[in-house]
């Protein structure tokens, strides 16, 4: 690397009980920043870790001069979306790296590649592993991309870099930065991904809490950013309508036929209960939909930060 890049770069890292991976992460990422950028800061978002993660960060930076390092401690477990929103809100860089995980299965040079790609005129550049996680995330992205109105396909990403322009746009149009990936994808700005060959899957340990959080995020994203819920409920509505029509025809026919069924009450009750069941199911969708909309629009404070500490 000849000359250092002069733009101000922020690096936001999500940390949740990562004491095993953090040291390797710091040793890989920090030297890249030191070598490549003249002005940068690190922000570690500690999502209520109860291990030594933050001590590792503290110890690592004690002996290293130069850049600002901040630890944002979340008041309680918030999940990745809210925590990263807190981190990027605080970042001051013209370019912002988001490391959703401290797991490293890519060559360190990729961090610089992503930056250079961005300078070619992209506002979002992500690093995408060729082999990735579970069938669950695979299915999620398949469904999401099929139904979404976004400009580009979402996929598993290890980290990404984003421009200040993108954040300005999102801040101006949206109340929160939750469901980031979908927001970025629907921002209308240019995005691209660099795919790299990874040998191993992300083996960092995921707690049940995190798993539930991811699942919840996935469902919320599907409902908010795709029309899948709308389509399913509409389809259901149509089936119910057809069913009711058939039942109606049958009722009319049996009414006028000479051989009235002896057990005349049974079909009628059947139709009624089926109809009501369908209505309630529809309500379930409506309620879930409304809940998410409410959450996004009316919940003013999206996260509670316990402290912001600049450790150097």
């Amino acid at each position: 690397m000849s000359a250092k890049e002069t733009g101000f770069v922020s690096c936001v890292v999500y940390v949740h009980n990562n004491e095993k991976e953090l040291e390797h992460f710091l040793e890989t990422v920090y030297p890249v920043f030191e070598r490549q950028f003249s002005r940068y800061e690190f922000l570690f978002v500690d999502d209520d870790s109860d291990d030594k993660s933050i001590d590792i960060v503290r110890d690592y930076f004690v002996s290293r001069g130069g850049c600002a390092v901040t630890v944002v401690s979340m008041g309680y477990y918030h999940g990745m979306e809210l925590s990263m929103a807190a981190g990027t809100d605080l970042a001051i860089g013209d370019f912002i790296y988001e490391f959703d995980s401290v797991w490293i299965d890519y060559p360190s040079g990729l961090i610089g590649d992503v930056f250079r790609k961005m300078l070619e005129g992209y506002d979002i550049v992500s690093a995408h592993p060729s082999r990735f996680g579970s069938w669950k995330s695979y299915t999620f992205y398949k469904v999401f991309n099929y139904f979404s109105k976004a400009d580009y396909d979402l996929q598993t990403e290890r980290f990404r870099i984003l421009s200040r322009r993108l954040f300005n746009r999102i801040d101006a149009s949206s109340k929160s930065r939750v469901y980031r990936k979908a927001l970025y994808a629907t921002s209308g700005l240019k995005a691209c991904a660099i795919t790299y060959e990874n040998q191993t899957k992300d083996r960092s340990i995921i707690s049940n809490e995190q798993r539930a959080d991811r699942m919840n995020t996935a469902i919320d994203m599907l409902i908010l950013f795709t029309d899948v819920a709308y389509k399913v409920s509409l389809m259901f509505c149509m089936i119910m309508l057809a069913f009711m029509l058939v039942a109606g025809v049958y009722t009319v026919a049996s009414y006028f036929s000479k051989h009235r069924p002896v057990e005349g009450w049974a079909p009628l009750m059947g139709i009624l209960s089926a109809g009501f069941a369908g209505i309630f199911l529809l309500f379930a969708f409506v309620i879930k939909y409304l809940e998410v909309v409410l959450k996004l629009i009316f919940q003013k404070k999206q996260y509670m930060v316990a402290s912001v500490e600049k450790i150097r």
Binding site: E41, A68, A86, R164, D171, A172, V308
Partner: protein
């Protein structure tokens, strides 16, 4: 030589007190460590004439600031810049105070606060409220000249620059101070208005120190574009910044909550790693002048500039000119409620020893009470 009052420190509080006492016909000596007055915190600060806006979580501080605001403007109008729009804004995120709370607070404290559209100065979505307020900035150099001229008219006030105190002790009903050049002075009343050195003086006398922390602070002076010339912006109460006219210098001062303090020390006496590199000019027992120190930290312009640019509209431009550094003592009690009280403490009576510690210029009038005794 005997005096009626000895005042330690030729900052605003020191010179103001000297003048106040001199006018009453008392014989006053001011001892200043630096070679000129107003070399440190009186000059190196945001130069705000506080109206109270800064303390949305401390109602009492706000009310007191507002009370003295008018009086200070009346007394020192010549050094005050008034004709600019002072805008306070609340950040959409990470703020301890939101727009509604701020508005309510101003109403309660009876200070001016007119809502304006945040997008006039800030990027869309960054601030949830912006307010036009009434707050001014003072020019430390003009104030200094004025005080010196006034003082020069009173022959009974003497200012001794470059004073090195080698010893202070109680001697009957007086305090006796020996300087390193052999001068011996005494007075029945000593005012310690040394600001950051307040505990260093107290330690020499064995008095109980103030509970303070020390921050080595940097203030950046900027040249600004025409559209920012008559505007001061403060995004408050959180990890934010302020850019506002710096007295009548034509420059703006840029500060930030996170990046203005470079190093913090929680000891009773200020102990910093850079003191070892200061070439003997600074120690925990005697602070040097940070702005002139060879070991002063590098500028945080990269950080402060980026932070401000993140919030401010792109067409509002500002450019780095220079950095000023000073040591700032902060009373530990003021962290939670954000108050900045002026503390005046009397350590002994007959002879009297008084220490004052304040981060605001317009509360200087608080001293009247203790000087009138």
């Amino acid at each position: 030589m005997g005096y009626d009052r000895i005042i330690l420190g030729a900052g605003l509080y020191g010179l103001w007190s000297a003048l106040y006492c001199g006018k009453k016909g008392e014989k006053v000596l001011v001892l200043e460590y630096d070679s000129a007055p107003f070399m440190r915190a009186s000059y190196i600060n945001q130069a705000r004439v506080h109206m109270g806006y800064h303390y949305p979580r401390s109602y009492s501080t706000a009310v007191k600031s507002a009370k003295y605001f008018d009086r200070f403007c009346r007394d020192y109008g010549f050094c005050i810049l008034e004709d600019f729009n002072q805008v306070y804004a609340t950040s959409s995120r990470f703020s301890w105070t939101n727009a509604e709370q701020f508005e309510r607070f101003c109403k309660a404290a009876e200070i001016l606060c007119d809502r304006i559209v945040p997008e006039k100065y800030f990027k869309s979505g960054m601030c949830d409220g912006a307010f036009l307020t009434q707050e001014y900035t003072y020019d430390a150099q003009l104030l200094r000249e004025h005080l010196l001229t006034e003082i020069s008219r009173i022959p009974d006030i003497r200012i001794c620059y470059g004073a090195r105190i080698s010893d202070i002790e109680q001697d009957g009903c007086c305090y006796r101070i020996r300087l390193s050049d052999g001068t011996d002075v005494s007075a029945p009343f000593v005012l310690n208005s040394t600001y950051a050195s307040v505990n260093q003086i107290l330690a020499r006398l064995g008095f109980e120190p103030f509970r303070i922390k020390y921050e080595l602070c940097e203030i950046i002076l900027c040249e600004v574009s025409e559209n920012l010339k008559h505007v001061g912006l403060t995004v408050m109460d959180g990890p934010f910044f302020s850019i506002m006219p710096f007295g009548k210098t034509g420059l703006h001062s840029l500060t930030s909550v996170t990046f203005t303090p470079h190093v913090t020390n929680y000891d009773t006496l200020p102990k910093f790693e850079c003191q070892e590199r200061s070439g003997g000019t600074c120690s925990p027992e005697q602070l040097g002048n940070c702005s002139q120190c060879a070991a002063r930290p590098g500028s945080a312009w990269d950080y402060m500039g980026s932070l401000a640019r993140k919030y401010m509209r792109d067409e509002l431009e500002f450019k780095y000119v220079e950095s000023l550094y000073s040591m700032k003592p902060i009373l530990m009690a003021s962290e939670v409620d954000d108050s900045r009280p002026t503390v005046i403490r009397k350590f002994s009576e007959g002879p009297t020893f008084v220490s004052v510690l304040s981060g605001k210029i317009n509360t200087v009038y608080d001293l009247e009470e203790v000087l009138d005794v």
